[in-house]
Symmetry: C2
Amino acid sequence: MSEAIELRTIGYVRGGRAESIDDGWDAVTAEIALTPDFGAEALAGLDGFSHVEVVFLFNRVAESAVVAGARHPRGRTDWPKVGIFAQRGKDRPNRLGVTICRLLAVEGTTFRVAGLDAIDGTPVLDVKPCMRGFLPRGEVREPDWARELMTGYWA
Amino acid sequence: MSEAIELRTIGYVRGGRAESIDDGWDAVTAEIALTPDFGAEALAGLDGFSHVEVVFLFNRVAESAVVAGARHPRGRTDWPKVGIFAQRGKDRPNRLGVTICRLLAVEGTTFRVAGLDAIDGTPVLDVKPCMRGFLPRGEVREPDWARELMTGYWA
């Protein structure tokens, strides 16, 4: 059975886009500011990594908009109807986003990133360094629609 | 300020290791079974991907064991003391794990994976397909300790 899990925000996205737009995210820079629960030591050594992985909450998605079954990604009926766990759209159970972005600078309890697809004010639940060892082992295969969807996503 | 966020488990890890061990995870296979809140359509099309990204809770970590500042990864004093957000250890705020593993098979509301570093019974909070477009853009740099730590992690 399903169980409730209580988490706490560890920081917030500051700056970047004010509204969600589908494409062009790599040109967007934003800051992540940790909450006052943390000191600068929580980010010590992060600047040794070129990329960070950010776990965040799509908090602007209404609970009523969450899809638990299948849908066409971006409503594109020319792409197959696939399960919510076979796509990365934001209208998903628990509304979690996970994105690897470039780390630009760390200063105190704040750090600056480029290419984070989360808007100003987004609650952040975790930050992890991107380690090569955690990238996929073996060739990554994906369906055509996934490649097409990502064509303009970053650039 | 920090805010509470309530999530619900969407599934559980079944099988694999019964206890957490540091290394050799790629040889481990396990199933993820969705909770009864979901039907098979939630996984429709997932088998078009070679890899999946699993967001899970390190629920065996006691809240009192969580580190909010800095520590030596794995207690190795020959490695630098770095912030909890500059390492991927499990004793972290919100105790979230994020791992990309190989997808072996999907059947109904269950799927089988290899190389998931989560033990039997682990609560799962999200599953996303691994899309090439969500892998890091640009060269990934990391400190020497991160490379050393991962040497035997999968193999």
